[in-house]
């Protein structure tokens, strides 16, 4: 086993071009679990954790470009969390302080777990990703990137360089159910992002289908009913209809973390509470 510590994205891509079977390592918080479980054996390891470019973020045309190596702790920093509170809230629910210091956004996306906590938020916000190899740079939407349960669209030789997230005006909420009060894998999660300028509510849900997705029917319904001027008077009927639409769009399974029935029920509760919270505050 050998470890190559790349110092730049170009160097990393060159190493991968030569050795496409190398294992990419960022924070190691998913990878080492697989290694310890014996489901992943290490030959050559390419370490991305010391590439300064991957830890940077920049603003461009009302979008933030987040380096793939940004950690959860970084995401909760007020400078960043101001742009997308729901992403910061999701980051805060992840693991323990140690995991939030080590774990990265890129790692969460590459792992592509149905329970990955940043994914419903990024899906709700239509984030896109820059993938880079020694020969090509391409941009894919997050929904194109995540192709199934723990499956992604990375080609051999490619790494995630950055994630591009649009900035939306308006309140945001992320809620996650787990059977412990911290450090727990989500049983259900939900992100609600208001887009005041486009007058749209965006909803992403996690852990209730093979791939986190947007509840589009519910979005259309509620964006239409929402009072975009004074943000008041959402009737109970509307709230219930909305949360039912969200729940109906899910296809949860039974597993040892929760039953399908519970997940469907819980996502409904989360949708209702998230909506009540955003409609309680100042919408602009």
């Amino acid at each position: 086993m050998g470890v190559i510590i790349a110092k730049s994205v170009n160097e990393a891509c060159a190493v991968l071009a030569e050795n496409p079977a190398a294992t990419v390592l960022a924070g190691g918080t998913d990878l080492m679990v697989q290694v310890n479980r014996g489901t992943h054996s290490l030959e050559t390891v390419l370490d991305l954790s010391r590439i300064p470019e991957l830890k940077k973020w920049t603003m461009e045309d009302n979008q933030i470009i987040l380096g793939a190596g940004i950690s959860y702790t970084d995401l909760t920093h007020p400078q960043l969390s101001a742009f997308f509170p729901a992403l910061a809230q999701a980051a805060r629910t992840v693991g323990s302080p140690q995991i939030r210091n080590a774990g990265t956004l890129g790692g969460n996306l590459a792992t592509a777990s149905p329970a990955g906590d940043t994914i419903p938020v990024l899906v709700a916000m239509d984030a896109s990703m820059q993938l880079k190899s020694s020969t090509e740079t391409r941009e894919v939407s997050i929904t194109e990137f995540i192709t199934g349960v723990k499956a992604n669209a990375l080609k051999p030789g490619e790494i995630i360089e950055s994630i591009k997230v649009p900035i939306f005006k308006g309140p945001q909420e992320f809620l996650k159910v787990g059977t412990r009060n911290a450090m727990v894998i989500s049983v259900v999660s939900l992100a609600l992002v208001t887009d005041y300028l486009e007058r749209k509510l965006r909803i992403g849900v996690g852990s209730v289908s093979p791939v986190p997705f947007r509840a589009t029917e519910a979005e259309e319904f509620i964006s239409d009913k929402f009072d975009w001027e004074t943000n008041r008077n959402l009737s109970e009927k509307v709230i219930n209809k909305f949360s039912e639409l969200v729940a109906n769009s899910t296809e949860p399974i039974d597993d040892h973390r929760g039953t399908a029935n519970y997940r469907k029920h819980a996502v409904k509760v989360l949708a209702k509470r998230a909506l009540e919270r955003v409609s309680a505050g100042d919408i602009k």
Partner: protein, 761 residues
């Protein structure tokens, strides 16, 4: 008098009653303490275990040839290679060292491998080809007794009937309930690990983390076909135990491989392997009917208990004895009919865990007391106090309580303690915590109290003893005891006892080993402070008498006039004094064996003086519940405990906090999910232990100090009670908050959200 006071200040913090500092505390905090997993030997090789993936199967064939041919592989052993006793077990040998033709639980060891590197161990294990013929597993304990036997010893480990009193009288008020407890794991942070080193005399040295060196030694020696003195066990640093290390795990395997290869060999379980490789807390199904007069006086209890022992016996029969003897709770009940059974299934084996049979029944009897209080329209605290056992009362086995029993005191002090929590002010403090799910509109608060009790030490006529020796030389005391320090703090107490009696400052604890001293018994049953503490005290008392006699003789003094003070020996009747260092320039030593009062077996009606002493505790829990999502946050835990006498306040607090955390885990999250004999969550990803956000501070309302007769220093064991009544109190508080009849722990979100349907069953 003034001299005595100087002694007190000079040795402050180190004697009985003071918060002496753990000798292993600083090294543990600094990461310098050597746990069993840190053992190294320059020539060592590595061992590993091939385990059955199936809960029930016949082994058709095992082909080890490909594995044996691999590079780095020294040995591959199966049951065919055993020439000692092929079975082991703590109470009764019924568990194969290596599966012989049949596997009875998922994870049962089938073959063991020795190789030069852990990677080669893994590859060799993968290369062993085992052909299994699957058998439908017996996974429902309710069917075990009528099912075809899955072991030559049958499917019933033990059944106990307790018949006390003779009235079949119906109460004016009766309440009935069925209760269930899931399978909890001890989850010690250190996984099973150890090292075996073959010795020149044809014997073996085994360094291992365990709770009872001598019981291990005897089982290992029998299985190796060696005389016990050729098998020497030394305690390696223990990373927690809680019952999980009372049974053999890798001990025999390590020794077999070391003997075969002639090399030092190390083994260390992964976390997943650990979940499969040690026993768990018995899942229980319990039916109860309580009868009372309309004034609340209990007149009769009927109960039927069924414990799932899993595939092998372990300590099942003793666990059942506890479950039945303590089934009624710490109450005066004139008439009792209890039937209890513990059965064999193809589920993971169950055995010792903190609270040992009393945890399960406490959950049930306390739920019954709450139900009764509702039926009676009576305050639950008043109902409990009214029926509380007192010294001189009999428990349901007909045994009279001759020691202390401050039951009403623990209940009342716990109930009266003022609560210090207000409503949660931050999202993080509400149910759901970091997940930000809570909506204060949907949060309900509940509060409840529960009481529990348990026996101290081994029961039912077991010859329970502990051995210790004390050597005093040049003013330094050395204590030798095989007591396993598993984190409970015996090492601290042993030093405190020596200082108290011999007045020395420096106390060395020799390594705990079967080679240097007789058995100390098990570090379980809350017994080591009493038993090994008693042995150390006896040895020190003997040394003290020998020393003072020697000084009296050589200086022609009256021995009665001599006292140990201020690091020296002084005469109360003359000016004579001598420093301890000088007085012990010649060795003074003594070895003592300490035994508690004898106990007796239970008769066919479950009657008899089976227990030594009883300990009581109460917990009061305040919980917030998100009813819509079924999430719980325990916001406050208050406790009172019967302790006899406080020997080390800080360590006592540690036991009260840690035990309550374990009880909280069982109440709301800790469960090994077993379906058709398979564990679904053998990792800390999904076996959830409470985090700092789940565990509130533990408020100690009162430590009831009524010295226990016959107990060294009057102290009772304190380790288990905190894990007994805490679960019951939390579950009851959740019932109180939600108004639901929650009859199962752990309480799952679905139990609250869909109370009408059994979504998980």
């Amino acid at each position: 008098m003034s001299r005595l006071q100087t002694v007190d200040t000079a040795t402050k913090g180190s004697r009985i009653g003071e918060s002496a500092i753990r000798p292993d505390g600083v090294p543990k905090v600094k990461g310098e303490f050597v746990f069993s997993n840190d053992l190294r030997h320059p020539d060592m090789i590595w061992g590993g275990t091939l385990r059955s993936p199936h809960p029930s199967a016949r082994i058709v064939s095992i082909n080890t040839t490909p594995a044996l041919k691999m590079t780095g592989v020294y040995a591959v052993l199966t049951s065919e290679d055993l020439d000692g006793m092929p079975l082991y077990g703590l109470e009764h040998p019924d568990q194969p060292v290596l599966a012989d033709g049949v596997v009875r639980f998922q994870g049962e060891p089938v073959a063991i491998v020795a190789a030069d590197h852990p990677d080669n161990v893994r590859l060799a294990l993968e290369a062993i080809d085992v052909e299994y013929e699957l058998i439908e597993p017996l996974s429902d304990s309710k069917l075990a007794q009528e099912n075809e036997a899955i072991h030559p010893d049958g499917n019933l480990f033990r059944e106990i009937n307790i018949n006390y009193g003779n009235s079949q009288e119906e109460g004016e008020i009766t309440v009935e309930g069925t209760y269930e407890v899931g399978m909890q794991d001890q989850a010690p942070l250190g996984t099973e690990s150890g090292m075996a080193v073959p010795s020149e005399d044809g014997g073996i040295d085994l360094f291992v983390s365990t709770q009872w060196l001598h019981a291990d030694r005897d089982q290992v020696a029998a299985c190796l076909n060696l005389p016990p003195e050729k098998v020497r066990l030394t305690l390696a640093g223990v990373g927690g135990a809680f019952g999980a290390r009372e049974d053999i795990s890798l001990h025999i395997h390590l020794c077999l491989l070391a003997m075969r290869t002639g090399k030092p060999i190390k083994m260390s379980y992964s976390r997943t392997e650990s979940f499969h490789g040690h026993v768990h807390r018995h899942p229980a199904q319990m039916w109860y009917r309580h009868h009372a007069k309309s004034d609340g006086t209990l007149i009769r209890i009927e109960a039927r208990l069924l414990l799932d022992g899993g595939a092998y016996a372990s300590t099942s029969s003793a666990v059942l004895a506890n479950a039945t003897c303590f089934a009624a709770g710490p109450y005066r009940v004139p008439n009792v009919e209890i039937y209890g059974a513990v059965v064999r299934t193809n589920n993971p084996p169950c055995g010792a865990m903190r609270g040992f049979g009393c945890v399960q029944v406490c959950f049930a009897h306390e739920a019954q007391m709450d139900k009764l209080a509702v039926e009676l329209g009576m305050d639950p605290v008043e109902l409990r106090v009214k029926n509380a056992l007192e010294p001189g009362d009999q428990i349901i086995t007909g045994q009279t309580i001759t020691g202390t029993a401050p039951v009403a005191e623990v209940i009342e002090t716990c109930a009266q303690h003022s609560s210090s929590v207000g409503p949660a002010s931050q999202q993080m403090e509400l149910p759901g915590g970091a997940g930000r799910t809570a909506d204060p509109k949907h949060i309900v608060r509940g509060e409840a109290i529960a009481v529990g009790f348990k026996n101290l030490m081994f029961s039912e006529g077991f010859d329970d003893f502990s051995t210790a020796s004390c050597q005093l030389l040049d003013g330094v005391a050395t204590i030798t005891s095989a007591c396993a320090e598993v984190g409970q703090g015996f090492v601290t107490l042993a030093q405190q006892i020596v200082r108290e009696i011999l007045g020395v400052e420096e106390v060395i604890l020799a390594p705990a080993s079967t080679a240097s001293v007789g058995s100390a018994g098990s570090t379980s049953a809350s017994r080591q402070t009493w038993m090994s503490g008693g042995a150390v005290k006896s040895a020190c008392d003997a040394v003290r008498i020998k020393l003072l006699s020697r000084i009296a003789e050589s200086h022609d003094l009256d021995v009665e006039s001599l006292v140990i003070v201020d690091g020296g020996i002084a005469s109360l009747s003359s000016e004579f004094s001598i420093s301890l260092k000088e007085a012990t320039s010649d060795l003074v030593e003594a070895e003592e064996v300490y035994r508690h009062v004898p106990t007796f077996p239970l008769d066919e009606n479950g009657q008899g003086n089976a227990h030594v002493s009883f300990v009581f505790s109460a917990h009061r829990a305040v919980v917030d519940v998100d009813q819509e999502l079924g999430l719980v946050k325990v916001v406050e835990l208050i406790t009172s405990q019967d302790v006899g006498r406080v020997l080390n306040p800080l360590q006592l607090q540690g036991q009260l906090e840690g035990g309550a955390a374990q009880g909280l885990g069982l109440a709301v999250m800790e469960e090994i999910n077993v379906v058709d004999g398979r564990i679904l969550n053998p990792s800390f990803t999904d076996y959830l232990l409470p985090t700092a956000l789940d565990m509130p501070p533990v408020e100690i309302a009162a430590l009831i100090e009524q010295p226990e007769p016959n107990a060294p220093f009057g102290a009772k064991g304190v380790g288990e009670p905190p894990a007994i009544s805490s679960t019951a109190a939390i579950a009851s508080a959740v019932r109180n908050a939600t108004g639901l009849d929650l009859h199962r722990v752990p309480i799952r979100p679905t139990d609250i959200v869909f109370p009408e349907r059994n979504d998980n069953d």
